[in-house]
């Protein structure tokens, strides 16, 4: 059916030289291929069962709880520890040492001995150790603004104020979710062959999904403790609006640079999905209707999105204007005409800001799950084949790659201070990743290799006087200092979306662009930068809780319901 409608059409993938600019990556939106939605669709499709097997939390809010998800073949348990945290210790920074709640996702169902062992380690986070039966380690802090309001309202027999809930969006925010072997946990390679964990970050997304259920239960428990018999039960229509916040700092930005093949696969999947939809020759009525509904719900989401940060305020204004303009354009456009989606996309490229273009790119996928959802199976990465350097490649061929894929960098004046003003480094304080001023702080000796553009330009200059037919193996023997960037250049030659095509150490670089890009792939919404280096988001806002999960509720929850616009 779909192939028939695609016959004769080929829409090329968008050019990585445009897609991989930071301004565009910093305008990405969630989509059908976001990791949260991949997970909720799977859980519903496979009819996962959920139960709470322990909730041993005292009147001070201290204790533990266990939430288990049962797939058709396995079980995974969130083990949650609740703490009584003095307010002065509450911080979202990596350098914090105590939290309101700490978690691990356990592979299976934990025994009493497991709980004891975990209770001695998980609350310590980086200072503790877990084992190969643990798949993730995470922590969360309360939103002081909202937690007390919800507890007090329920304890008094009232429901909390919806406006206040929408203004914050969550009762707790995670400040780190560690997976993939961190702190002694299982390596991804141990679980990557399980279908439910093939797409990226499914462990972390499952952990947060279960965390949300725990937080809802904990706030009710604390209200019950305070209010006794008169306590109200939190209304399901209210709790559904409560997601889990996340506070993300600079650690995420290096991730994109340190996992080039993985990053390529994320972007390539979304680009392929977009190209498939743009290639459709004719849209059916139901598809058009669904698209228009998601557009309207997206516009509502943009209205509900709050930020006090000047950069985000401006981008939000652009997004809202873009969505208004798009809606108006649709009134004068016939989507029943041939090539409707490609025509619409090209109109957006010419008329909308990057925010609007990327929002549309995601919305276009909505009616076409059958065409694009399978791409989620191609978003993981095996780095082994691309890690090895092809030593027989000639310097002439390498020069060609550098000119094609790092052209922007070869045209940058790297002697200008503003083009290399920043340096990425790791602090000895809990190994917190940081970004400093190269010329004002004594950090250059500690610089991490996170400036591929500069390094590519340096490599290009270093091979200028070498013959074209010399193999790179010969060059590397004399110049091992270029081995890192030469590897990257060979990777980007095979994986065109692997590299950010922008200056990651410029005075003007905004790390929040990288954070937003990664978080959009997670499926986050309502990005709220708190500076140019850290951002808050909401995860699973509007999503069903475990007991409400079914195919009808599992997918488009990320868009607010129009009837909720009160």
């Amino acid at each position: 059916m779909t192939q028939e409608r695609q016959a004769g059409r080929h829409v090329p993938l968008r050019d990585p030289r445009d897609v991989m600019r930071l301004a565009r990556l910093g305008a990405l939106h969630q989509s059908r291929l976001s990791f949260m939605r991949i997970l909720t669709r799977r859980m519903a499709r496979e009819n996962w069962r959920f139960n709470r097997t322990a909730f041993e939390i005292n009147t001070q809010g201290v204790g533990h709880a266990v939430y288990t998800a049962h797939t058709p073949t396995r079980s995974y348990s969130l083990v949650a520890f609740a703490h009584d945290l003095p307010p002065e210790q509450r911080s979202d920074r990596v350098i914090a040492t105590a939290w309101d709640a700490t978690f691990t996702l356990f592979d299976g169902v934990p025994t009493a001995d497991d709980i004891t062992r975990l209770s001695q380690n998980v609350p310590l986070q980086e200072a503790g150790r877990v084992s190969q039966t643990e798949l993730s380690v995470s922590r969360a802090n309360r939103s002081v603004r909202l937690w007390e309001h919800v507890v007090a309202s329920l304890a008094a027999g009232d429901q909390p104020d919806m406006a206040r809930i929408k203004a914050v969006g969550y009762l707790m925010r995670t400040t780190a979710v560690y997976g993939s072997g961190k702190l002694g946990a299982a390596d991804r390679e141990m679980i990557a062959d399980r279908p439910e964990f093939n797409p990226p970050f499914q462990v972390e997304m499952l952990s947060v999904f279960l965390t949300r259920a725990f937080v809802r239960d904990l706030v009710q428990h604390m209200a019950n403790t305070r209010g006794g018999d008169q306590t109200a039960t939190l209304d399901g229509n209210i709790s559904r609006h409560m997601g889990i916040g996340n506070s993300t700092g600079l650690g995420m930005a290096p991730f994109l640079l340190n996992h080039p093949v993985l990053f390529n696969n994320w972007v390539a999947a979304r680009e392929e999905a977009l190209a498939r939809v743009r290639a459709i020759k004719a849209a059916r009525d139901g598809e058009i209707t669904l698209f228009e509904q998601m557009l309207d719900r997206s516009a509502l989401s943009a209205q509900q999105w709050h930020s006090d940060h000047p950069i985000q305020i401006k981008k939000l204004a652009q997004l809202r204007a873009d969505l208004d303009q798009l809606r108006a354009h649709l009134d004068s456009t016939d989507l029943r005409a041939p090539d409707p989606w490609d025509t619409l996309y090209l109109w957006a490229e010419a008329n909308l800001s990057l925010e609007g273009q990327e929002c549309l790119a995601s919305l276009l996928l909505e009616p076409y799950g059958a065409l694009v959802d399978e791409l989620s199976e191609h978003m993981a990465a095996d780095n082994t084949p691309t890690f090895r350097i092809a030593g027989a490649m000639t310097l002439g061929a390498l020069r060609g790659i550098l000119e094609t894929d790092y052209g922007w960098a070869l045209n940058t004046d790297w002697s200008a201070p503003e083009n290399r003003a920043r340096a990425w480094y790791v602090s000895e304080e809990k190994l917190e990743p940081r970004l400093g001023d190269r010329f004002k702080e004594a950090i250059e000796d500690y610089e991490q290799p996170l400036a591929p553009g500069r390094d590519a330009a340096t490599l290009f200059a270093a091979i200028a006087h070498w013959p074209d037919d010399t193999p790179v193996a010969e060059f590397l023997l004399r110049h091992p200092e270029h081995r890192h960037i030469l590897r990257r250049a060979q990777i980007v030659n095979r994986a065109p979306y692997a590299e950010i095509r922008d200056n990651t150490i410029a005075e003007t670089v905004l790390p929040i662009d990288m954070l937003r890009c990664k978080l959009a792939f997670f499926g986050a919404s309502h990005f709220d930068p708190r500076s140019d280096r850290w951002v808050r988001i909401c995860m699973y806002g509007g999503a069903p809780f475990p007991e409400d999960l079914c195919p009808d509720t599992a997918d488009t929850w990320v868009y607010p319901q129009l009837e909720d616009d009160t």
């Binding site: 307010p87 802090n141 090895r388 480094y425 000895e428 702080e441 890192h484």
Partner: protein
């Protein structure tokens, strides 16, 4: 104590950087150490030994002078990380039947992970041998022959790498590494050199704090 392989890889990369290696070789050291650990071999301990031996020495002193003939270093001893990388980069030569011979190479076991990279490129088995030790890998699995003492030797007078016919009694990798705490401490001592000292300015500005995060 058991470690995830990712932890071993991350620790090795930072340690190699702390010993002054360029980032690209740090990446090789990290992947190689992880690979050895996945076969229960003492990659992390040998890496710590190597970093202590060659701490902050210029890589070019320990590199093959030329890729023609037997490989020798200007300083007398070859670094297994540098010579190993060059061997992986030159994998195609072994496909044509050449044997790569390294003369006076430190900690020869650290060369073997590079044979795995070469084997994947050649889509065939590659053998590394020195003294009584013969190791063959197809990139994924490993055949080990030879006494432990020779396997973990600090030095090999002559080491040969060549494409070979096949694997006998292959061992599959595991997904967990063990590491003595003193080895972890030695690697972490190198790694610590890569961390910028804490300053108040860095704490305030470097991670973009400033707004309250307790709200």
């Amino acid at each position: 104590m058991t470690f995830s392989l990712n932890e071993i890889e991350a620790m090795s990369k930072r340690a190699a950087r702390g010993a002054g290696l360029p980032w690209g070789l740090c990446e090789e050291a990290a992947k190689g150490t992880r690979w050895l650990a996945s076969f229960g071999l003492p990659g992390p301990a040998l890496l710590a030994d190597l970093l202590e031996l060659n701490d902050r020495l210029p890589p070019v002193d320990l590199s093959p002078i030329s890729l023609s003939g037997d490989w020798r270093a200007p300083a007398g001893r070859l670094s297994p990380l540098i010579a190993g990388s060059a061997m992986s980069d030159s994998a195609m030569r072994m496909d044509q039947g050449d044997t790569i011979t390294m003369v006076n190479v430190s900690f020869p076991l650290l060369v073997v992970p590079f044979a795995s990279g070469a084997a994947l490129r050649l889509q065939g088995a590659v053998t590394v041998e020195w003294g009584d030790v013969h190791l063959t890998t197809d990139g994924l699995n490993l055949c080990i022959q030879g006494p432990d003492a020779a396997l973990n030797a600090a030095h090999a007078n002559s080491l040969r790498c060549f494409a070979s016919a096949g694997m006998t009694a292959p061992k599959a990798p595991v997904v967990r590494g063990t590491l003595d705490s003193d080895v972890a401490a030695r690697l972490n001592a190198f790694a610590h050199r890569t961390y910028a000292p804490a300053t108040e300015q860095s704490r305030l500005l470097g991670a973009g704090a400033g707004l309250s995060d307790n709200d």
